[in-house]
Amino acid sequence: MSLKQRAAKELEIQKKLVGLPPRQIYPSTAFLAIITPILSILVALLIAALILFVSGRDAIFILSEIFRTSFIQNFAETVVKAIPLILAALGVALAFRARLWNIGAEGQFYGGVLASTGLALSFPNLPALVIIPLMVAGGLLGGALWGLLPGLLRAKLEVNEIISSLMLNYVALLLTDYLIFGPWKDPEGRNFPVTATFSDESRLPTLVEGTRIHFGLVFAIVAAGLVWLLVGRTKWGFELKVMGDNLKAARYAGINISRNIIIAFLLSGALAGLAGMSEVTGVAGRLQQNISPGYGYTAIIIAWLARLNPWAIIMVAILFGGLVSSGFTMQRVGVSSGLVTLLQGILLFCVLGGESLYRRLLYQAALRRSNLTKES
C-alpha cells in the first residue's frame, strides 16, 4: 500500500469515528485510561488482603496502617523518595517518546552525582547562591555527558543504545566506587568509603520546614512542565514522536534524525543527572555507596506505567515512593519481608496486567467502532 493510499484509508477511518452516534454504549477511551490503573490497584489490594487474611493477619489493619504511614503521617518521606524517581522517569520518558531505549538513567544519575559531588568537595567555601546553581549546572552536564555517549554511538554508528547505555551504568558505578575508595575518601572517615560531608552552603535547601522535602521537588515539577511543553507543544517534540512512530517516515519527511537522537539523549541524561544532584546534595549531604537503590531502573517502570505522560509520572512516582516505604511498614507490623516482596510483586503484576488489558481494550474498541459504522 502506498503512503497516499494509507493516508486515504486513515482519513476514512477518522470520518467514521467522528460520525459515531453520540450515545456511546462502550466506555470511552479517556474513561478507560483513568479507570484501568485504579481498578488494577484495587484488585491488587484485594488479593493482598486475601493473602494477608489467609496467612492469619489483620489485613485491614495492615493496609490502613500502610496508607496512614506512607500517605498521611509520613507523606513527606514518600515525596522525598519520589523526587529522584520523577526526574529520572521524565528523562527516560523523553527518550522513549522517540523509541530510543535509554536504559542508562542509573548511570546518568551517577553522572550528575559525581559532577555535583566534585564541585561540592572542591569549593567548600563558596556561598550557596554561587555553589548551588553551579552544582545544578554540573549535575545537568554530568548526566548529559553520560547520556551523550550512547546517543552519539547510536546516532553516528548505529550502535544499539540499550546495550551501550546499560553497560555505562556499571562504568558509572565502578567510577563512583573508585572515587570514594580512593581520591575522594573522607580524610577523617577512618578509611570508610564515604566522602567528606558537604558544607552547609552546598546543601540543597529544604523546601518544607520539619521534613526532608528539598528543593529537588521544584526541579521535578518544573521539569515535568518543561517536558510536557517540549514534547507536546513544540515542533521538536513532534519530530520526536514521528521518529518514534516511524523512523523511515521521519527520515522521508526530512527530520534530522541523528541530531535529534543526540539531543534526546542529552536531555534525558541531564534530567537523570539532576535527580542525582538533588539526591546527593538534598538528602545525603555526602557521597557514599548505595546513593541510588536503583532509581534509574525503577524510573523505566514508572515512565511506562505513566504512559510517558509527565504529569502522570509525578503521580506514579509518588505511588512508587509509597510502595517502597510500605514494605518496611508492613515489616514493622509483623509481615515477613518475603511476603512483602510477594505483595509488591502482585501489585506490579496487576498494574502491568491492567496496562496490557487497557491496550487490548483500546484496540478492540477501535475495531468495534469501525465495524459498527460499516454496518450502519
Binding site: 573508585y178 578509611n191 568509603p193 514493622r332
Partner: protein, 420 residues
C-alpha cells in the same frame, strides 16, 4: 480521642472511595442493572464499617500516632509516657541490612535479638530486614521506628551512620545504637566487636591445614574492619607457617551469593586449598565443598551449610551487649559510648573445629584463645611488615583501638591490593 476520630474518618474516606470505584465500574458497563449497583453499594458500605473498625483497633494498638512528621518528637515522648503508665513492654527495634536468613551477619544479630527477648520478657523487640543502606530509604525506616514508640533502636550496618545521627537529633528521647560506625551523640552509642581476634585463630588453623601454601580470602569491601580481619588472619597463618600466602579477592558486595561463589571458585582455580572469607552468606563454603577443599564461615556458625568443608567460623554473639544495653536503657542508666568487645567479653569466638583438624592444632588454637582472653597475647603486637617490606609495627609495639578501626594497609604475606 482526636486520633480515633481521625482513624474513623479515614475509614469513611476509604469506604467512600471504594464505593465510588465500584460505582464507576458499574457505570462503565451500561448493561449493569440497578440491582447490582445497589448490591455493590451495600458491600462498599459494609467494608467502610469494617475499615473504620480496623482503624479504631489500630489506634488502640499503637500508642504514638502523631499525624504529621513535625509533631513526631512530642508523639514519641507521649508514647513513652503512656507505655510507662500502662505497664506496656519496652519497645526495641533492630534495623538489618540483609535478610535474617542470610546465614551470616544479619542472622547473628537476629539470634541475639531472640536471646534478648528470652532474657528480658518485658522487652518487645521487632526488626526490619533488608533495609538498603541508601540514605533516603534507611533514614525513613529509622524515623518510622522512632515515631512508632520504640525507645531503643539498633542500626546494624555501617551505612546507617549518618541517617542514625540525623534521626537521633529529631528524637532526643530515643536511644540509638549503631554497629560498626564511629559517630556518637548524646543519644547515639556505637558498638563493634574485635573480629580480628577470632580471625587470627582461624588463620592459625588455615596455616596449619594448607598444603599449597595458598590461602584464598573472599572479601566484601576494603574497609578497615575487613582489611584488619585479613591482616589478623594472615598474621595467624604465618605465625605457624611463614611460607603461607593469603590471596584476596574483592566482591564489592556484602550479600550476593552467586558472585561470592564465583569469587571463591576463582581463588580455588588459582591454587588456593583453603578459603577464608568476610561475606554475609555461606556461598564460599559451598564452593569449597563442591571441589573437596576447606573454607571458613563468617559472622555466625555456618557449619550446617557445608559440614565437610567447614573448618570453623569466626562468629559474633551480640546478645551480651544487647541485653546489657537494653537493661541500662530500661533502668535509665544508659550512657553513650564506644563499645569494642572481644573474646574476653564473650562477644567474639571461633566455633568448634572440624574433626579433620589434627588434635595438636586444636590444642594450639585453644592455647592461643586462652592467651588472648587472658591478655597475654595481642594479635596485632609487632614486629611485622607491610606488603612493601617496610616495618609497620616494631617489636614491642602494637596498634591502638583507633589504629585498628582505621587500618588501611595489608601486612606482609597478603597477596592483593587495597583500592586507593
Amino acid at each position: 480521642m482526636k486520633n480515633s476520630r481521625n482513624q474513623s474518618k479515614f475509614g469513611l474516606v476509604a469506604g467512600v472511595l471504594l464505593a465510588l470505584s465500584v460505582l464507576l465500574m458499574a457505570c462503565g458497563d451500561s448493561t449493569a442493572t440497578t440491582a447490582s449497583t445497589a448490591a455493590a453499594g451495600t458491600t462498599a458500605a459494609a467494608s467502610a464499617t469494617t475499615a473504620a473498625a480496623g482503624a479504631t483497633t489500630a489506634a488502640g494498638a499503637t500508642t504514638a500516632a502523631g499525624t504529621t512528621a513535625a509533631t513526631a518528637t512530642t508523639a514519641a515522648a507521649a508514647g513513652a509516657t503512656t507505655a510507662a503508665a500502662t505497664g506496656e513492654k519496652f519497645k526495641v527495634a533492630f534495623v538489618y541490612v540483609g535478610p535474617i536468613g542470610d546465614g551470616g551477619w544479619t542472622f547473628a544479630h537476629e539470634q541475639a535479638r531472640k536471646k534478648l527477648v528470652e532474657t528480658l520478657p518485658n522487652v518487645e523487640a521487632t526488626y526490619i530486614e533488608s533495609v538498603d543502606e541508601n540514605p533516603t530509604t534507611s533514614e525513613a525506616v529509622i524515623t518510622e521506628l522512632a515515631q512508632k514508640g520504640n525507645k531503643m533502636i539498633f542500626t546494624t550496618s555501617f551505612g546507617y551512620m549518618d541517617p542514625t545521627i540525623n534521626v537521633a537529633k529529631k528524637f532526643p528521647n530515643v536511644y540509638f545504637e549503631h554497629a560498626t560506625g564511629y559517630k556518637t551523640a548524646a543519644n547515639v552509642a556505637v558498638y563493634q566487636v574485635r573480629q580480628y581476634q577470632a580471625r587470627y585463630l582461624a588463620g592459625i588453623v588455615a596455616g596449619k591445614m594448607t598444603k599449597s601454601n595458598i590461602i584464598g580470602y573472599v572479601a566484601a569491601f576494603p574497609i578497615p574492619e575487613v582489611i584488619g580481619g585479613i591482616n589478623a588472619f594472615t598474621l595467624g597463618a604465618r605465625s605457624v607457617n611463614p611460607a603461607a600466602k593469603v590471596k584476596v579477592v574483592w566482591t564489592n558486595t556484602w550479600y550476593d551469593p552467586g558472585l561470592e561463589k564465583t569469587a571463591a571458585k576463582s581463588l580455588l582455580n588459582a591454587g588456593a586449598d583453603i578459603l577464608g572469607q568476610h561475606q554475609d552468606t555461606p556461598s564460599i563454603l559451598q564452593a569449597a565443598q563442591e571441589v573437596g577443599k576447606y573454607a571458613f564461615g563468617n559472622d555466625s556458625i555456618m557449619e550446617s551449610y557445608a559440614p565437610k568443608a567447614h573448618l570453623a567460623s569466626p562468629y559474633w554473639d551480640w546478645s551480651p551487649y544487647y541485653i546489657e544495653r537494653v537493661k541500662a536503657a530500661m533502668n535509665g542508666t544508659w550512657k553513650t559510648g564506644d563499645y569494642f568487645g572481644g573474646l574476653k567479653e564473650g562477644v567474639v569466638d571461633l566455633s568448634p573445629l572440624n574433626a579433620v583438624v589434627p588434635d595438636d592444632v586444636k590444642k594450639l588454637v585453644d592455647e592461643k584463645k586462652a592467651a588472648i582472653k587472658a591478655g597475654t597475647l595481642d594479635v596485632y603486637a609487632g614486629p611485622y611488615k607491610d606488603q612493601s617490606g617496610a616495618t609497620k609495627v616494631a617489636a614491642g609495639a602494637t596498634l591502638s583501638d583507633k589504629d585498628i578501626t582505621s587500618i588501611n594497609y595489608f601486612v606482609e604475606g597478603v597477596d592483593g591490593t587495597i583500592p586507593k
